[in-house]
């Protein structure tokens, strides 16, 4: 019987790690992009500096917004951070987990964050918020069925949607990847590009009104509120990458609480996230942003991949 730390401690430690490390991943992707464009680029710690700067700034709020507008960044951050508690980062528990949530609740929480953000964008009025909200919700709803099919195709073999259990059960099977796993992984990578709001679906660096999706909704947020949303965006990105890693690369998860095991798990986690973040950066550097109405076609590829994965699995 292995000894992992108490489930509650484990969950809190993993969630805290995900929240704290999230801006670093964004920093890494930015740095990678800069180097690929032959620029020196800002330090990988830049997102932390941006956050601390925003936290110290004052707020300018739209005079049409309701009092609820102030609460939105906080709720968005809280929903996204709650989602982190459902992922295996360092440990793959064989036994008890905290019965907190599974992949479906995780997707639900991310959808809640998106919904609140869209409501906030409409709250301030103005065309940019509405446009951003409309587009973000559209992309979100196109991602969801494909994501569900992917989760489904992976869960069919393990019989559960609890991401912790999925990772634990699939860990010994890593070298026996089958065709459905592969197709599901390809589908998932396509969806990850959309979920993290990156090229070719969205461009995180643009503030040009015609190309904004996510950024359009943030225009009226400022100061600490904007900091909360920016942090939530970083966290969402890392949550997506961790989900991919947990579903398809559940390797190197620790079985106990000994320091070497934890160090090894940490290194494995870092390597996986680094690899996936490199994928994001490479795609972002080598593709152009798709026209908005081409996005459904791009996501359709992910949907069909996931469908094929499921078909190969059950037929």
């Amino acid at each position: 019987m292995e000894t992992t730390p108490a489930p509650v401690v484990r969950t809190i430690a993993q969630a805290a790690l995900l929240v704290l490390a999230a801006p670093l991943v964004t920093g890494y992707v930015q740095k990678l992009k800069a180097r690929l464009q032959c620029r020196a680029g800002a330090s990988v710690w830049q997102p932390y500096r941006d956050l601390s700067k925003l936290l110290r700034k004052g707020t300018v709020q739209s005079d049409t917004a309701t009092p609820f507008f102030r609460a939105i960044p906080v709720l968005v951050l809280a929903a996204t951070a709650t989602a982190t508690a459902m992922l295996p980062v360092l440990w793959a528990p064989a036994g008890a987990t905290v019965p907190l949530g599974d992949a479906i609740l995780l997707v639900g929480l991310l959808a809640l964050a998106r919904f609140l953000l869209a409501v906030g964008a409409l709250d301030a009025g103005g065309a940019f918020g509405g446009m951003g909200a409309s587009r973000e919700m559209t992309v979100g709803l196109l991602v969801e069925p494909a994501l569900m099919l992917t989760v489904f195709s992976v869960a069919v073999s393990a019989g559960t949607t609890d991401v912790n259990l999925l990772a634990a059960r699939r860990a010994p099977l890593l070298l026996s990847w089958t065709a459905p796993d592969l197709l599901a992984l390809f589908g998932m990578l396509i969806l990850a590009l959309a979920e993290t709001g990156r090229i070719p679906v969205d461009n995180p660096d643009t503030h040009l009104e015609l190309t904004m999706l996510h950024e359009g909704m943030l225009l009226e947020h400022s100061g600490p509120g904007l900091a909360c949303i920016a942090l939530a965006t970083h966290v969402k990105q890392l949550v997506t990458l961790t989900l991919v890693a947990a579903l398809f690369l559940p390797v190197g998860l620790a079985r106990d609480a000994s320091p070497p095991a934890i160090a090894l798990a940490l290194a494995a986690f870092a390597a996986k996230v680094l690899a996936l973040a490199t994928f994001l950066g490479l795609v972002e550097s080598s593709y152009a942003k798709l026209r908005f109405f081409r996005v459904p076609q791009f996501l359709g590829l992910g949907l069909v991949c996931a469908f094929l994965a499921l078909a190969l699995r059950v037929l």
Partner: protein, 218 residues
């Protein structure tokens, strides 16, 4: 190489072949479709090599080698050359919307697996899902030919379809006689050459594409 490992590798390669097929279907640009079909040929060659290692059939090594050289290097090079020469627009022009073709492709997969269930006795244990995957590739290749306007993309569909036939043949019968395989590959190369020349000639003499052929009817 053990039979079980070979079966698993063929399974995974079948998944990769399907994925490249989807990439061909979803490609928005001619070049991407060509790269995808080249990648497909590489996976097909690897599948041949895996089967060769598993069965000890020397012919399969040769076929795998020829497949990679002819289909993953020569043909794509030829197609890309033609695309550059005729300077056609790079967008793929679908006859029916791409999302519809993707839906049809999903339907084809279900159909292929359904047929596979009724073809039970033919199915071989070593090759697992290879038969339905091969049938899927053949059918989707035809779908590409039917649903794309450009002659070059139709060529890509033909190659993909041919890859499917190859994969099915390899997986079921552990390879046809060498001479037949080589003949088939030569056929395809020849077909590509003829097609390429045709496209070039048609383009240079009347400045048109095959989609305009329908204006010929009375």
């Amino acid at each position: 190489m053990s039979v079980a490992l070979a079966a698993r590798l063929i399974d995974v390669l079948g998944g990769l072949l399907l994925f490249t097929m989807l990439l061909i279907l979803a490609a928005g640009q001619v070049f991407r479709a060509i790269y995808a079909v080249a990648a497909q040929a590489v996976f097909l060659g690897i599948a041949g090599a895996v089967l060769a290692a598993a069965t000890g059939n020397v012919d399969l090594w040769i076929i795998a080698f020829i497949t990679i050289v002819a289909k993953a290097i020569v043909l794509p090079w030829l197609l890309i050359r033609v695309v550059r020469r005729v300077q056609i627009s790079r967008e793929i022009e679908p006859v029916i919307p791409v999302h519809l073709t993707l839906t049809l492709a999903a339907g084809i997969v279900v159909l292929a697996f359904h047929l596979n269930a009724s073809l039970g006795p033919v199915r071989q244990t070593v090759t697992g899902n290879a038969l339905p995957v091969g049938v899927t590739l053949i059918l989707i290749g035809v779908l590409v030919m039917a649903s794309r306007r450009k002659a070059l993309v139709q060529m890509v569909g033909l190659f993909a379809s041919e890859n499917g036939i190859f994969f099915t043949a390899m997986a079921i019968s552990q390879g046809m006689p060498l001479i037949i395989e080589i003949g088939v590959i030569l056929d395809v190369v020849l077909g590509a050459l003829v097609m390429g020349i045709l496209v070039l000639r048609v383009r240079s003499s009347v400045d048109t594409d095959i989609a305009d052929l329908e204006s010929l009817k009375g």
